[in-house]
């Protein structure tokens, strides 16, 4: 949620008079949501244009980046808006992936890779993944969402480990969960790319809607003060479970697309907790609970991560230690937790925020002064929330 101070509401100090302007629609940043939506559309538009550059490496890199955008966006529903730090959302990703794999494997009639029934199997798997994930999120969420803070985080972390273990032990989709379904080679490889972009777009629209809807207000109220939320008539349990299910669905779809994209995977890859941690990290990096935060955070982190992996692939070792992208993950977690717990988007909002009218109007009108003021606000903001 973008939050600038709305200027219209501050003009009605006289008790007894109604709203000053009669325009009761401005709140929470006024038109801020519109700018966020536009910004998101521009970014996603840019991403959609990348394959036209014709570089396969670039396209495959951005496929993964876009996937992480979707994962962060969907984590944002439960973690950002509702304030429940789910550390096991990779569970839904894995369920989505295995649902697609099992769907391809389960139809023995489909043997030939060029069987026209193949695409159908994919969508059946996707749908199954969505349904199973939603039900799973509902069943898991009902008891675990009673837990607060760390306890909820631990419980959700536990579910992903448990599901991974079940998939491995029950030989789902292959011995030890090793899945290499007979995916038909997709002549249009770019389909995965646009699958993720479309999913990110849907999530963007969903987030923008959430930032202004009744449902979204309920989630934010729960995040800000659950006890007060209940007392004011919010059915907190159902809203929380709703947010959890909502975050599970796009994650499962992303998992399903990833399954096809990867063409073969094992439980350790699609249930790894580092995917869960990345969802959390990039959302916080960008700004949790904001429209643009997850998108920006995912792009910055995943891009940096890929560059890092690339250079470390060429044997960059410091003090004899070979740095991989996991190192970057660790360092990024520390930096975000210490310096940027509110995320980049909020820092930028703080920078561009117009000072409250009548406040310390020491700054002149010149751009330089505004810049200095902005920097000062940002430093205060970081000092107040981080170190």
């Amino acid at each position: 949620m973008p939050r600038e101070t709305s200027s219209t509401a501050s003009n009605s100090p006289v008790a007894g008079s109604g709203p000053a302007s009669g325009d009761a629609t401005t709140t929470r940043a006024g038109r801020g949501w519109l700018w966020s939506l536009l910004g998101g559309l521009v970014i996603l538009g840019g991403i959609a244009a990348i394959p036209t550059l014709g570089s396969d490496t670039l396209t495959s890199n951005w496929t993964i980046i876009t996937m992480y955008i979707v994962l962060a966006q969907s984590w944002n529903f439960i973690g950002g808006f509702t304030g429940y730090s789910a550390f096991g959302n990779v569970t839904f990703f894995g369920i989505g992936a295995y649902a697609v794999a099992v769907s391809f494997l389960s139809n023995p009639k489909v043997i030939s890779p060029y069987d026209p029934q193949r695409p159908q199997q994919f969508f059946i798997g996707l749908l199954a993944g969505v349904v199973i994930s939603a039900i799973f999120a509902f069943l898991i969420g009902l008891p675990t969402l009673r837990l607060k803070g760390h306890y909820f985080a631990i419980a959700t972390l536990g579910t992903s480990v448990a599901v991974e273990e079940i998939v491995t032990q029950r030989d789902v989709a292959g011995s030890g969960g090793l899945a290499s379904p007979p995916f038909p080679p997709l002549s249009l490889h770019i389909a995965f790319y646009y699958g993720f972009v479309a999913l990110a777009l849907v999530c963007l629209l969903l987030t923008t809607w959430l930032a202004r809807s009744k449902f979204g207000y309920a989630l934010v109220a729960i995040r800000e003060n659950e006890q007060a939320a209940q007392t004011l008539g919010i059915a907190t349990t159902w809203y929380k479970v709703g947010a959890y299910v909502l975050s599970a669905i796009p994650t499962a779809i992303a998992g399903g697309i990833y399954a096809y994209y990867s063409s073969g995977f094992e439980p350790a890859t699609v249930f790894t907790s580092s995917i869960s941690v990345t969802m959390v990290l990039v959302t916080f990096l960008g700004g949790s609970g904001t429209v643009l935060g997850p998108i920006i955070g995912a792009i910055i982190f995943e891009y940096a991560s890929q560059q890092f992996a690339l250079s470390s692939g060429q044997a960059t070792s410091v003090f004899g230690y070979h740095f991989g992208s996991d190192t970057l993950l660790g360092v990024a977690i520390i930096i975000v937790a210490i310096a940027l717990p509110q995320g980049l988007v909020r820092v930028v909002q703080e920078f561009t925020r117009r000072p409250v009218a009548g406040g310390a109007g020491a700054s002149g009108n010149s751009r330089a002064n505004q810049f200095v003021e902005g920097v000062r606000r940002v430093r205060k903001f970081i000092a107040a929330n981080g170190i």
Binding site: S6, A9, A24, V220
Partner: protein
């Protein structure tokens, strides 16, 4: 003393507690308390620290469930209803320790009350209600501040405003005057009276005896979780049992010996607040 409107002639029970007990571990915080609130009245609840006042508010509001006994609202047992269902029935409450939505601005804080406490309001309608309520409690000029930027008095106002935005039938005010300056207390009393004039039944839990005495039609006294008195403010405040609860046995006996009915009990009790 109670200058406000007396309860409607055909008095009708809106809220009733029947032998309600709440134990935390073995210790009863509220012990076999029964009373009824009439529609349209202001019922004051006083008692020393730890008397069980806030627990009682929680039992009515729904954030705690009674160990035994019944809570009836408009004749319906609400013991097992979660807080949000009680809110929809028309029970609004404030918290002794104020609970603002810190990240939302004041207007949105109040808007949440209208949005979820009432049925079928659109976003802009809810905002409209919020603006009206803010003007009424005197917070309109602070509408754009964040929930954690308010003074103690304004935080208490915000608590009341949020509950009011729900359009409650009964309002439970848990120590909304604690920590306020005398001038602010006067404002608060005026606000409670005006809310009551609009037909809202009010249950005021308070430490400040003077405030309670001036605003309540009837006063109920809790001590160690038990009800020790329930009557008009004057009668209750000159009750030896009540004086004893507040000041100890010796003082009560001394007081009894003096037999000075001319001095209203609220005056000496004020020193405690």
């Amino acid at each position: 003393m109670s200058a406000n409107l007396s309860p409607p002639t055909a008095s009708e029970t809106i809220l009733e507690l029947q032998h309600v007990t709440k134990r935390y571990g073995g210790l009863p915080a509220v012990d076999d308390v029964s009373f009824a609130v009439q529609r349209g009245e202001v019922l004051g609840v006083i008692g020393p620290n730890g008397a069980g006042k806030s627990t009682m508010v929680s039992l009515i509001g729904g954030s705690a469930a009674p160990t035994s006994g019944k809570v009836l609202f408009q004749g319906q047992a609400i013991n097992t209803l979660p807080p949000h269902r009680r809110a929809h029935l028309g029970i609004g409450r404030t918290f002794q320790l104020t609970q603002p939505f810190t990240g939302l601005d004041i207007r949105e804080n109040v808007m949440v009350g209208a949005f979820f406490g009432r049925r079928g309001l659109s976003r802009s309608q809810a905002l409209h209600v919020a603006d009206e309520v803010l003007a009424r409690v005197g917070l309109a000029h602070k509408a754009t501040l964040k929930g954690d930027q308010l003074t103690v008095a304004d935080r208490k106002r915000l608590e009341v405003a949020r509950a009011l935005a729900m359009d409650p039938r009964i309002l439970l005010l848990d120590e909304v005057m604690a920590g306020l300056t005398p001038a602010e207390v006067t404002d608060a009393i005026e606000l409670i009276r005006s809310i009551n004039r609009d037909g809202v039944t009010v249950l005021v839990v308070e430490h400040i005896v003077r405030a309670i005495a001036s605003v309540s039609d009837r006063v109920l006294v809790l001590h160690h979780g038990r009800k020790i008195a329930e009557d008009t403010p004057d009668t209750v405040l000159s009750d030896p049992k009540v004086i004893e609860a507040y000041l100890g046995e010796r003082y009560a006996k001394q007081k009894q010996a003096e037999k000075d009915p001319a001095q209203p009990a609220s005056e000496w009790m004020e020193g405690l607040a």
